[in-house]
Amino acid sequence: MKITPIIGLEVHVELKTKSKMFCSCDAEHFHVDPNTHTCPTCLGLPGALPVPNKTACEWCIKLGLALGCTPNESSFFERKNYFYPDLAKGYQLTQYEKPFVINGKIKIGDQEIRINRAHMEEDTGKSVHIIKNNEELTLIDYNRCGVPLVEIVSEPDLTSAQMAKDYLLKIQQIIRYLGISDADIEKGSMRCEPTINLKIEDGDQTFYTPLAEIKNVASLTGVLNAVDYEINRQTEEFQKTKETKSKTNKTTRGWDAQKNQTFLQREKEGSSDYRYFPEPDIPHIEFTKAEIEAIRATISELPDEKIARYKTDFGLSDYDANLIAQDIQLAQVFEHVIEIFKNKEDIKLFVNLFNGEFRNEDINIDKIKPENCLKIVTAQNESLLSSTSAKIVFTESYRTGEDPIEIAKKQGLIQVSDSSQIEKIAKEVIDNNPKAVQDYLKNPNSVGFLVGQLMKASNGSANPQLAKEILEKLLK
């Protein structure tokens, strides 16, 4: 029996526009007093009407273009009707028949994942659940109601939990590159709903298990675990019931991160009927070719392009280039620093510093001083700093802002490259380690031990290359 998971992802991304999608209320809703960013439109008061936010529409198209999508010539909003207290109007404005952009694709490693669409819609309010006098109540805050959302729908091209995670990371990376959203899964500005079923090949028979859509996955690990859980659950379920996919048996399941399992939320898809129809309050939207190209022109270098450039222009390894380009802010810090660098070799040396333990620091473009970075790399070139010392000095000078050479001097990390001084220490080391000398004479590869002793005796300040050469010379 061969089992292949079929996974599609719906990703919702909250755009960081200043105002909401269909009204001029402030779109900020984190740590804001409840119900302070509302107006007739986002409260769904009688008679209120929506007027779409131009920037949000442009950003949706921009994201679509970055995902390789094609814009629709004419788009319009539709009403998606359902009742829930956080949905003030009783319908969500979204795009169903004519999204802004369709048919894109992105690459995850060698795999191509097709994107069905990216459409514009609006967020709902937030609910708080309390118990008061034994009564369960839900409290509603409409500050988030009407904040612009882009929904990115993939084709079911993903075949593992890891791939789903990689896909999400890639989408997140692109969104952050575009600067249109924080795309923070933990904070909820990026949300993900996987839909999963299995293709089961048994001999010459092929079965498809019923679709399950998973809600409330609030972290990347959650996505990984939820998808894995669901693959196992559906495998077991199929063995028990042999039930296969039909038009009516799609279910909605919630993800319980504590219990690490999915649970049934809504039985059959047939019970929800959203009654989509074109929103009469908003005229159709048509961006001209020139407008689309103007939007395209605002797309800065995307991750794949950046990685390629790092490799060709600076000779970075695939690993190093990826590590830097992973996060746009990190890449910006990197590029800010190397602007004053003159050659590839120096940049490579800097990358070794940058991609080391330094990554654990809270890296900030305003804090890093490119001239200090260059001083460290120059000191390394002049053999004043060993690579180990350079790392220590780099972190310290980043934290304190102090001159790296001063730090190195204070900490005694300036490398000794004076042969006579090293020779003096070498002689002591030879005298104190007769056994090691004997070993060396039998096996010259064991010189490392003596070099180590020399380094120790010099408090790490000796140039190790020079130390080795002098030891070898003296023992000849």
């Binding site: 409840p34 936010n53 009564e135 369960e136 109540l137 839900t138």
Partner: protein, 99 residues
């Protein structure tokens, strides 16, 4: 649209979708009324509309968009002023978490 018979079960389903409780009396009154209305609407079936684009908006407006500018919102007090029930500056409904 060929069958205009709307069953009581269908009416129950629709009233649930629309979130409107109907009394038995109302259902009894509505059913024949809805049927005669639906029957009347059948007239549309006789019209040939093969190559006709639907009209969703009559005045052919396009691209009416706002600049992304924040303007003043209601104060919290104003926002809540029309609510039948509030709690700690929130609107209140019966618990929505399913047990």
């Amino acid at each position: 649209m060929s069958s205009n018979k709307i069953t009581r079960e269908e009416l129950d389903h629709i009233s649930k979708l629309a979130r409107i409780e109907l009394s038995d009396q109302e259902k009894t009154t509505f059913l024949p009324q809805l049927e005669s209305i639906l029957e009347y609407l059948d007239i549309l079936n006789q019209v040939k509309t093969d190559n006709i684009t639907p009209t969703y908006q009559v005045n052919d407006q396009k691209n009416v968009l706002r600049q992304d500018i924040v303007k003043e919102s209601f104060s919290q007090k104003e926002a809540l002023s029309t609510a039948p029930k509030t709690q700690d500056a929130y609107f209140v409904v019966p618990g929505t978490i399913k047990k």
